[in-house]
């Protein structure tokens, strides 16, 4: 884990976002180390709420679908085999029977196997509100469909479908259609789970606060 990753993980968003977690853990810590009964019960309730929120954040970040790209990071292009396109409700994830897709609050979900140069192919689901690269209308006669995907080379679970890829990448994608589809396992997110930095920082804040309060008497 290099310095840039550490800075990204524990950047200003994490420092501010960990304050509520730290407050809840501080209340619990103060209550456990001799504070009143009120403080202990309140701290337990607040900590339980904070843990449930962190669990929801982590689960959302670890889903099968791809994550958004980090702003300001370079992306690499790679051709991808398209297994299928579904139309789902944006909120519930429920598949719609008719794939008209123009209704509000719907998303397209593209099931891809990305074949990057220099790494193993991986499977990913990409969500997008529009039918990028015209994929939903292709493949009716059983011909293989390919697309151009853009991924973050350091974190390949951040894959998107660019709306207008360069012509050279489109040619590479067309050339890929003749190749057999590799069996690839779904890409997994490596490193800390989403939101883990908030938990770590919250524990540090709470430890410091409890130590300060108890030392001050």
């Amino acid at each position: 884990m290099n310095r840039a990753r550490l800075r990204a993980l524990f950047g200003p968003h994490s420092l501010w976002g960990a304050l509520p977690v730290g407050a809840a853990l501080t209340a619990l810590g103060l209550g456990l180390t001799g504070g009143g009964r009120w403080l202990l019960l309140l701290g337990a309730a607040a900590t339980a709420g904070a843990l449930l929120l962190l669990a929801a954040v982590a689960e959302a970040g670890n889903g099968v679908a791809s994550a958004a790209p980090r702003p300001g990071r370079p992306t690499s292009y790679a051709p991808a085999h398209v297994h299928g396109v579904r139309v789902v409700h944006a909120g519930s994830g429920r598949t719609l029977r008719d794939s008209d897709g123009r209704a509000q609050g719907t998303l397209f979900v593209f099931d891809l196997t990305v074949v990057p140069a220099g790494r193993a192919p991986y499977r990913v689901l990409v969500r997008h509100p529009l039918d990028v690269q015209g994929l939903a209308g292709q493949g009716k006669d059983g011909t293989p469909v390919t697309a151009v995907a853009a991924y973050d080379p350091e974190e390949p679970w951040r894959t998107v479908l660019p709306a207008s890829p360069p012509p050279r990448e489109r040619q590479r994608a067309r050339a890929l259609a003749a190749a057999p589809v590799p069996t690839a396992s779904p890409v997994t997110r490596v490193g800390l789970p989403a939101g883990a930095s908030l938990l770590v920082l919250g524990v540090l804040y709470a430890g410091a606060a409890v130590a300060l309060v108890r030392a001050a008497g």
Binding site: R37, W38, L41, A44, A45, T47, A48, G49, L51, L52, L54, A55, A58, E59, N62, G63, V64, A65, V82, H83, G84, V85, R86, V88, S92, G93, R94, T95, S99, V109, D111, R123, L125, R127, L135, A136, G137, Q138, G139, K140, V145, P186, P193, A196, L199
Partner: protein
Amino acid sequence: MDGIRQGVAGGVPRRAGWYVQTLRLTACALLAWLVWQVWHLSTYEAADVVWVCDGTGSCGTDHFASVGPFAGIAAAIGLGIAAARYLHRSAPGAVVALSAWAALAGWQDALADGKVTRADTSAWFLLVPVELPVPTWLAVLRWLTAAALAGACCGAFSSLYRTAAVARFLRGRACAPGTLEGWRSLGRRHGEADLLFADERGVRHRVPVVVARRALTRETVLAVYDPARPGDAARTRAALPRKEARP
């Protein structure tokens, strides 16, 4: 026309990893401890609550035990919501049983410590002040605990059946996402339909199954089948997991 016909990446609901499960279980444990503490306090110190009435019909107190039941109900609801993904339909019964048992334990501890005697009446401010002798409270809470535990067992059986948990985990059946077609009603609560699914080798099967009516609201169901004999209607069921798989 759909354009490209569909593959089902993510059709089977995935279990969350150990980090998420640890967070959730820790939160549930904290809430369970909280529920126990609050209900225990509300009855253990019910005799200590001194009500100060100002003569106009409204009474107040500054003792925590007076709001114990309200805080207890709020904490119990929170625990029920947090534990619902683990306890499914037995969550309400389990939470009520825990609350009643904690209140019962509080009263028994108060009796043991001499804070109340069996001859006292205690006004337990449970939403409205109810004044009953202590033995009556003990009996009420015992019955309530037993009834809630029975309700939790019924809920557990119902959820285990609906999600086919026994078949999946104990009898080695395999799961695959499936869809239902061709509903034929068999009465008010059940119906027969054809379950379409692809087994692990990619062979598609169409098996008639009986499902509850609420399966009609699902886009996909879980096909639970015997991997050795996937097309056998006697060994195949449609299960409804607690929530739909999301993309």
